[in-house]
């Protein structure tokens, strides 16, 4: 077998350009696979270890106020291993160096935090001392966002009273890996933070002695979460219980899990596309190789090489590409992966996030790329196996050229000789031409797909902050207030427009479905917070009837005309029955909407408000924020621009990196496809081309023929690629729709232009490389050899 292997290596060396191009496509796939899978696994393992060590709870439930004695009953529920009552409270913070008020989520620490659930992980400093009522632990992201040191004091308004709090330590928590203020889109670590305070201090501040307003449970190994949730709801019901949730629906966990699953599916989907392209290119090259080596194959058979040996010989081309591709891909993937894990480390705060590249990931990567390549080329390799030795001795019959379709239409005389040759060549190898088109279209599509996240995000931000949320700030009160509170805000110097905010929690009942959502009062034609209709333009609120966000409506099969029952969860708890008169497109969250006047009417109240939307003149921002901070009624202020900016800084960065990757990888595909198509044409037709040169055609004229063919294929493929990319992008965006976010589909002209540009550039580069080969075409050698 030695000499046959020598042949293998020399053939590979001769085809090195093509082999490397294919190897790069495969390596790109392996790189992405290793990169994403190693990070996915690192995240899963580190997260699970974190959850385990810090005893992240399995079930969470809030209530208004329940006596501690209830905890025994809760702990006695079948399937509960451990129950812990605690106090959660959102408070307004006056943070040094921040003009607008921030929101803090205070979490009570049990007397011995080490034995409790959801244990904070101390990063620096110490736990608050028992009996000292102004010491707190602060979440690390908040501390980092402000650049605070331990020892910093911040002021909080707790239960209407100002209190100075002393930060004595920083901590992480499995419960707040993803720190997101409820109801907002992006993490804003400047204005929202988590803080831990001793239980007795918090109890005293909130008059909650001997009581709790939140309970978390650890389930026994065989405990049924559903059953526990059901019984817990029953127990908490008399104490203003808000429906219990399982860990699956816990906000931080849910976001984390969602991102991790996206990482995982990207880790499969995109590499598999790369492997597909590699298989396709391998098929082209090997089919061509076997065709060119018919006689060599026949000789090998004549001298007694078994068909299986010959088949294996050609399969080795694939194996070499797979091995090299995996070597490069694993090295790159491991290198980039260990870098990406650091990015994740700053994004999600785990006590430790160790890079893990498991044997499983490696084996899986090698197996998937190897098997797909080998199986994908098997039928092509079989052609060599099946070639009858006697048959192969006869030279291949001359290629069957004929006038092309266009020429048959009589258009031939409008075409130059070169053009005719190009067209005939393409018609003669329709499958190859088609497959090259598919390859280039795939590269184009991948580029388009890679841009959709940026475009969709931009469009989400534009729609949300330009069309829907036109206010500068949203102010929320601790409790419903009478209209005077709204007037006070409206009268603040600098407030240009103010709009009242009124919403109540309701339990929606439709058929067997029940769902808690918020019912929003909306003015007939709102000026600041607006609501969008089907065509994404603002709508006006009908005087009668309900509107519902489309996602919720579709989820429960509710259509305009259906009548809903809404059980209001506050005040005198009236029950409303009303028809749905329209649907609202919400991007974030969602709920039910009703005319403001009608809402006051059904609640039997006189223009009550929960808060207000404000439009503030630029120079007065600071003074307005300052006044708001000093207003005890105000529970929180949400500033749209600030939240957006903080988010853009972190996420946009990683999206940009992803995009660069995308462009490089899709460029590799485009280059691989065009380059291989070109090399193959040169190989197949070097005789014809050399003959043309002998006949007096210039170098430029013969390269026109070849490059013209490439240009035609590329140009023909691009529109299909754009369509393909758009379709894939639609699929990807549809996959991202969740109960929390509806991401609007968007692809900008710029994105299409980038895709086209990258593909054209790759095609141009491969064209130049081939052009160089043509220029070096040795006329004599080509005409002398018989192939």
């Amino acid at each position: 077998m030695k000499s046959l292997n020598r042949k293998l290596f020399r053939d590979i060396w001769r085809l090195k350009g093509q082999m490397i191009a294919i190897m790069m496509v495969l390596a790109a796939g392996v790189t992405l696979f290793v990169l994403t899978m190693s990070n996915y696994e690192s995240l899963v393992v580190s997260r699970d270890r974190y959850y385990e060590r810090n005893r992240f709870a399995d079930v969470f439930a809030g209530c208004k106020r329940a006596p501690r004695s209830l905890l025994d009953k809760i702990a006695a529920i079948d399937g509960v291993q451990h129950a812990e009552g605690r106090i959660l409270q959102e408070v307004t913070l006056d943070v040094p160096g921040l003009s607008d008020p921030a929101t803090g989520r205070l979490v009570s620490l049990p007397p011995n935090p080490a034995s409790g659930l959801n244990k904070p992980y101390l990063r620096a400093g110490r736990f608050p001392r028992l009996g000292v009522d102004d010491e707190i632990l602060a979440g690390e992201v908040f501390m980092e966002a402000h650049g605070f040191q331990i020892g910093t004091r911040i002021n909080a308004v707790i239960n209407g009273r100002a209190k100075s709090l002393h930060i004595v330590g920083t901590a992480l928590s499995p419960e707040f890996i993803y720190v997101l203020k409820p109801g907002t889109l992006f993490p804003d670590n400047l204005r929202y933070g988590v803080f831990w305070m001793n239980e007795d201090s918090l109890e005293a501040s909130l008059n909650m002695e001997g009581a709790f307003n939140d309970v978390t449970l650890k389930l026994a190994r065989d405990g049924s979460a559903d059953e526990v949730v059901f019984q817990l709801d029953e127990l908490l019901e008399p104490y203003g219980g808000v429906r219990a949730i399982k860990r699956r629906d816990q906000a931080s966990h849910w976001y984390l899990e969602n991102e991790m699953q996206q990482l995982r599916s990207a880790g499969w989907f995109i590499p598999v596309m790369f492997f597909g392209v590699a298989v396709f290119l391998l098929n082209l090259v090997i089919a061509r190789l076997i065709r060119a080596q018919r006689e060599q194959i026949a000789v090998l058979k004549a001298f007694g090489y078994a068909s299986s040996e010959i088949g294996f010989h050609y399969l080795k081309f694939v194996v070499v590409v797979v091995l090299l591709g995996n070597l490069v891909g694993i090295a790159m993937g491991a290198y980039l992966g260990s870098g990406l894990v650091k990015v994740y480390g700053t994004l999600y705060k785990f006590p430790e996030l160790t890079f893990l590249l498991s044997a499983r990931t490696l084996i899986l990567g090698v197996l998937v790329s190897g098997l797909s390549s080998c199986l994908g080329t098997l039928s092509t390799v079989r052609r060599a196996v099946l070639l009858p030795p006697a048959e192969a001795m006869k030279p291949e019959p001359p290629a069957n050229y004929r006038p092309t379709f266009l020429e048959r239409l009589g258009l031939g005389r409008f075409m130059s000789v070169q053009m005719q040759m190009i067209m005939r060549n393409m018609e003669r190898a329709p499958l190859r031409t088609f497959l090259s088109c598919v390859g280039i279209a795939m590269a184009t599509g991948l580029l388009v797909l890679g841009r959709v996240n940026v475009d969709a995000l931009n469009s989400l931000i534009r729609v949300q902050f330009e069309t829907i949320q036109r206010e500068d700030m949203m102010v929320t009160f601790y409790e419903p207030n009478n209209y005077r509170a709204f007037y006070e805000l409206q009268q603040l110097p600098g407030v240009a427009v103010a709009e009242p905010l009124r919403s109540v929690g309701v339990n929606m009942v439709f058929g067997q479905h029940e769902k808690q959502l918020s019912l929003q009062g909306v003015h007939h034609v709102p000026r600041l917070r607006r609501y969008l209709g089907k065509d994404m333009s603002p709508i006006s609120m009908a005087p009668e009837g309900l509107m519902l966000d489309r996602f919720t409506a579709e989820k429960y099969g509710i259509r305009p005309g259906h009548t809903l029952t809404l059980e209001v969860l506050e005040g005198s708890r009236p029950v409303i029955r009303m028809p749905v008169v329209g649907l609202v497109e919400e991007l974030i969250g969602g709920g039910a909407y009703i005319n403001m006047a009608r809402l006051h009417e059904v609640l039997g109240e006189d223009r009550t408000v929960n808060g207000a939307y404000l439009l503030v003149d630029e120079p007065h921002w600071d003074s307005v924020l300052h006044r708001l901070k000093e207003t005890p009624k105000v529970a929180g202020v949400t500033i749209a621009d600030a939240a957006l900016k903080g988010f853009m800084d972190t996420i946009a960065q990683s999206l940009l990196i992803m995009n660069l990757f995308n462009i490089i990888f899709a460029g590799i595909i485009a280059f691989g496809v065009v380059y291989n198509a070109a090399q193959m044409s040169v190989g197949e037709r070097s005789r014809d081309l050399a003959t043309l040169r002998v006949l007096g055609f210039s170098r430029a004229e013969i390269s026109d023929i070849l490059l013209g063919e490439l240009a035609l294929v590329t140009l023909a493929a691009i529109p299909f690629g754009l369509v393909l990319g758009t379709l894939m992008a639609h699929g990807a965006i549809a996959d991202l729709q969740t109960e929390q976010f509806r991401i609007p589909f968007a692809l900008s002209t710029r994105s299409y232009a980038v895709a086209v540009l990258v593909v054209l550039l790759s095609a141009l580069i491969s064209g130049l490389v081939v052009r160089r080969r043509l220029d070096k075409l040795d006329l004599m050698a080509v005409l002398k050899t018989r192939e």
Binding site: S3, R6, K7, F303, Y305, S307
Partner: protein, 241 residues
């Protein structure tokens, strides 16, 4: 070693051999009932017009192809009933082929082209030895593209004989060569036949070559129409070209 015609042991015994090619509507009869025996150590030549079935016959003898009907007995084994695996084994152990267009592997040097075959054989010569036999000891590390046509054909001969085959089948070995080079190649064939006792069959269009054969078969229209036994063999350089 030279067996006299009609004597010695028949290496090949062919009876009633037919070969048809199904070409859709028409049936091409390439061979229509060929009977022939080839004896050990004999040098035979196959003559005949183009399309008379010479290559078809040779391919079947060499186990490259199977007949439609009839039998080919090689040392007691019926090749017409052999399967793909047996035919491969047969070619590997017993047959050396030489083709009109040399069919060397372009990516391998002379030495490697020969080694390609010796690696499969049980008692091969060293590739260098085989190349020396065809007077190419000085071209061991040349690639086919760096050799003349005659040199390439001699490499092909070295490749065919290096495994000491029992039979050597040559399909127009001099077809692509000029007279001088053709004679060098034929001398190499004659020497191997003489010195190694290899049963040799050569297809040619050149009647002159028949003068160096022990027996000459003439084919026409898929049949053997004439067999000449020669007693007055001449050396290749004496051939009246």
């Amino acid at each position: 070693m030279n067996s006299a015609p009609g004597q010695g042991e028949a290496v090949f015994s062919v009876r009633g051999l037919t070969k048809g090619y199904d070409m859709g509507e028409v049936q091409v009869q390439a061979l229509r009932g060929v009977d022939l025996d080839l004896y050990r150590g004999e040098f035979s030549v196959l003559l005949g017009p183009s399309g008379s079935g010479k290559s078809t016959l040779l391919n079947i003898l060499g186990g490259l192809d199977v007949p439609s009907d009839g039998s080919v007995i090689y040392q007691g084994r019926d090749l017409s009933r052999a399967d793909e695996r047996d035919l491969t084994e047969f070619r590997r152990r017993h047959v050396g082929f030489i083709f009109q267009f040399y069919n060397l592997i372009p990516s391998l040097t002379s030495r490697e082209n020969v080694a390609l075959v010796t690696e499969l054989a049980d008692h091969p010569m060293a590739p260098e030895e085989a190349l020396a036999l065809v007077k190419l000891a000085h071209r061991l590390d040349h690639f086919p593209a760096q050799l003349s046509g005659g040199e390439q054909q001699r490499v092909a001969i070295a490749r065919a004989i290096a495994k000491r085959p029992d039979i050597l089948l040559c399909d127009e070995p001099t077809g692509a060569l000029d007279i001088q080079t053709g004679i060098v190649v034929l001398e190499a064939l004659a020497r191997i036949n003489r010195e190694l006792g290899t049963t040799t069959a050569v297809i040619t269009h050149n009647r002159a070559i028949a003068d160096m054969a022990d027996r000459v078969f003439s084919m026409a229209d898929g049949q053997i129409v004439d067999v000449q036994h020669r007693t007055d063999k001449v050396a290749p350089d004496q051939l009246a070209w």
